[in-house]
């Protein structure tokens, strides 16, 4: 292939981020969202287990603190950059090959609906090595299998450092399952996302000339 360098980068870099979070999620997410750089070009897709009951307000709150538009997914909605998508309460969220969302009310997986594993698995099949999976604070073991699958498909997996997580169980079980490429504090994840956007979202297969391979260099 002989396309232009810049084009190549876009073609080859990461395409999406999936994120799983459970207990302790509110604080962790607001922190991460406010850290996102302006114009962040990857869609961010989130499964959060415990939805606060007054959920409308939570989106207003997130939106006032996030440079991207934060919203709940509609069935068959097209996945676009510039958005943070949330699974609706009580529905599983899946990604289709044509980069749209599907919802389902299949039984709970790992005691959860929405389940992080369901989102991560379907996303791994769609984006394979162009996907980043991030697992944050939580008191569940949901997400470990999904992280394993993302890893098996060549994607990048990041677990929040359990020592810095409000609830360490969820990231810890992914780490124990050998499913985390990187273990970072929230700060570290924020920094990672910033660098990612500055360097044009290179994935691990993409080597950019004259640039260090920052993915393996990010401090933990």
């Amino acid at each position: 292939m002989h396309s232009k360098q810049g084009h190549d980068m876009k073609k080859n870099g990461y395409k999406a981020i999936v994120m799983g979070v459970s207990a302790g999620g509110l604080a962790a997410l607001s922190r991460l969202f406010s850290d996102l750089p302006e114009g962040f070009a990857l869609p961010l897709i989130v499964v959060q287990h415990v939805h606060p009951t007054a959920d409308r307000q939570i989106f207003d709150y997130f939106n006032s603190n996030c440079p991207l538009t934060v919203k709940e997914v509609e069935d068959k909605e097209k996945i676009l950059a510039g958005y943070v998508y949330f699974a609706p309460p009580d529905y599983h969220l899946l990604v289709e090959r044509d980069k749209t969302f599907s919802l389902s009310i299949d039984p709970r997986v790992t005691y959860s609906r929405p389940a992080i594993d369901v989102l991560f698995e379907s996303a791994a099949y769609v984006w394979s090595s162009r996907l980043i999976g991030i697992l944050l604070t939580g008191a569940s073991s949901d997400g470990s299998r999904g992280m394993q699958l993302i890893k098996a498909h060549g994607g990048l997996t990041i677990a929040q450092d359990p020592a810095t997580a409000e609830y360490p169980v969820m990231p810890q079980s992914a780490i124990d399952a050998n499913a985390a490429d990187k273990i970072l504090s929230l700060d570290g994840i924020g920094k990672f996302l910033k660098t990612l956007s500055k360097t044009g979202y290179p994935d691990r297969q993409t080597k950019i000339q004259g640039q260090a391979d920052f993915i393996s260099d990010v401090e933990t």
Partner: protein, 275 residues
Amino acid sequence: MKAIDIENIEITLLLDAIFNRYGYDFRHYARASIERRIRQLKGKSGCTTISEMIPKLLHDESFFQKFVREFSIPVTDMFRDPFVYQCIRKQVVPILKTHPFVKIWHAGCATGEEAYSLSILLKEENLYDRSTLFATDFNDTALDIAKKGIYALTNAKTFTANYQAAGGISSFSEYYHARYEAMALNNALKKNITFANHNLVTDSVFGEMHFILCRNVLIYFDKILQDRVLKLFSDSLVHGGILCLGTRESLKFSTIAEKFSIIDETARLYQKKAV
């Protein structure tokens, strides 16, 4: 070619095989869910590739039956999304009351909980005796449970809470009797419901209806099939008839959208316009 692209070919072949052999058409179901279930079945059946399942499916009907059960997971509840029933009470019942008799179609009724919920609501609104409910699904096992109207007693707490939140005007315990580990719904609630097998993909219009409810079924279909089924509903409704979809399903992007006005967008209640 990547492994996942090969798998995609295998899944397409498998769905074609099922359609040609048994007439069940899953080709326009939302692919991600279908793939997830096929992979799970592959694991359970000891096949190493999806193509290995195809000869089994073609020649072993019991294997196919297992398959269909996996494709139709009848998850449901009584008075699921209570606010929707409140809306039906306030905004749909007055419209239905203008008819001398009322025909209602509950499509994708699974094990029947929603149909019985509606029966209770109609009873409390003094509308049940002139109503006929058709509750359909393509899953016979689920329909058998629906016809019996007997559910695990462990549900009672959720059902009762939902009933109250849905604006129930009586006590939910009046509608069932508990026996051992089961709750059996009153026979009076079954009187006007007919449970029947109907496949939304391959069967046609069901009759002239005043009210159609189809909740959390369309999410399992792709856009093309959603549109086809929505057209089927539109064709089955009288003018002024009402359509109720799941709380995450919408008419917004469908080709029949312009034929309907919105009664309540959050409850996904729509009314077919008169022409």
